[in-house]
Amino acid sequence: MSYAQLIGDWQALVVLFVAGVVPNQIWRMLGLWFGGGIDEGSELLVWVRAVATAILAGVIAQIVVQPPGALASVPDGLRYGAVAAGLVAFLLTRRSIFAGVVTGEVFMLAGKWWLG
């Protein structure tokens, strides 16, 4: 493993702080400073939580639909099938995260092996 892979350049770390650390941390610090006066069940927070959940859902979809790196070597149908198989297992086991993840992984690996 090279130096670039282990450490990288400092510009990338600056981007991490500007695009990642600050926009994320600001909400925790606001909670620390202004906590107390906010009703957790308020309508605004219900909307915010729904949008945040949908953004995360979009990211999940992006990784499966436009896969990075090695995941791109798995055919489209097999990736979608793995998510579907995991979902079935998750629902059948009364929402076991473990069962869903393992089933999805096994489906994908078995399919890859089957296809050669």
Binding site: Q5, F17, E43, L56, A70, G100, E105
Partner: protein, 246 residues
């Protein structure tokens, strides 16, 4: 392992409480889920050409799985810093109500704000869930130390997982590398689905997944924000409609 009774001498010092918090990471399946998730994040960082140090810093300083994945995938697919920052900050808004609701559990009348700094930083969905489970079993004046111990343990597990995932992605065959990358969408999909208590949450999750491919066709660079705003607002509409009818 069971926590000692509230009046036990085992709670006599903050360091003992820190130790009990640290050991409590062995008492939850969520530690395993976090390990799998951060294994995936390490592999994802490798395959989108970020350095290992970068991945570890993101875990240490961001400490929110969804934000880290959003950051890595958006930057990795060519989004600008502003676009990534917006997507990250929207995903992080949920931390605000979490911090607001979790800190009163460990506050005493004499607690200073700076004593809660690390607890606030460590707050993310896993810690939030575990605080509600463990803290009633911890004496109030030792809760901050306990949470710091619990959070320290979880961060350590995730840093280890990042490193292992990064090296595995670099050295494994393509198929096993793909399997590790697949851990991320699977573990996030199912842990989010499991935390969805209300109809609005389920609608937001399902619509968010289904709308993304459509939004991506527009190729605006804001795909994730567009599909997230539309799906989230529809989900909120469903919630509002049910409230009105009830």
């Amino acid at each position: 392992m069971a926590l000692p009774p509230l009046d036990s001498l085992q709670w006599n010092s903050p360091w003992l409480a820190f130790g009990w918090g640290l050991r409590s990471i062995t008492q939850t399946i969520l530690t395993l889920v976090l390990f799998a998730t951060y294994l995936g994040i390490g592999a994802l960082a490798h395959d989108t050409h970020f350095s290992l140090l970068w991945a570890l810093c993101s875990t240490l300083f961001v400490w929110a799985g969804p934000a880290q994945i959003i950051l890595i995938t958006t930057l990795g697919s060519g989004a600008t810093i502003i676009q990534s920052a917006i997507a990250v900050t929207v995903s992080a808004i949920r931390l605000f109500p979490m911090v607001v609701s979790v800190l009163p559990l460990m506050r005493t009348p004499t607690t200073k704000r700076r004593e809660l700094f690390f607890a606030a930083h460590l707050t993310a969905v896993t810690l939030w869930v575990e605080c509600h489970r463990f803290l009633p079993l911890v004496p109030r004046e030792r809760r901050i130390a306990f949470v710091n111990g619990l959070g320290f343990g979880l961060v350590s597990v995730c840093l280890t997982a990042n490193t292992v995932g990064y090296f595995l992605a670099a050295n494994l065959t393509q198929t096993l590398g793909a399997a590790i990358l697949m851990l991320t969408p699977l573990s996030f999909l199912f842990s989010t689905a499991r935390n969805s208590r209300e109809v609005a949450d389920v609608v937001a999750l399902a619509l968010g997944v289904l709308l993304y491919p459509l939004a991506a066709k527009m190729n605006s660079g804001l795909d994730i924000l567009v599909s997230g705003l539309i799906a989230g607002t529809i989900a909120y509409g469903v919630h509002w409609w049910r409230e009105v009818r009830a």
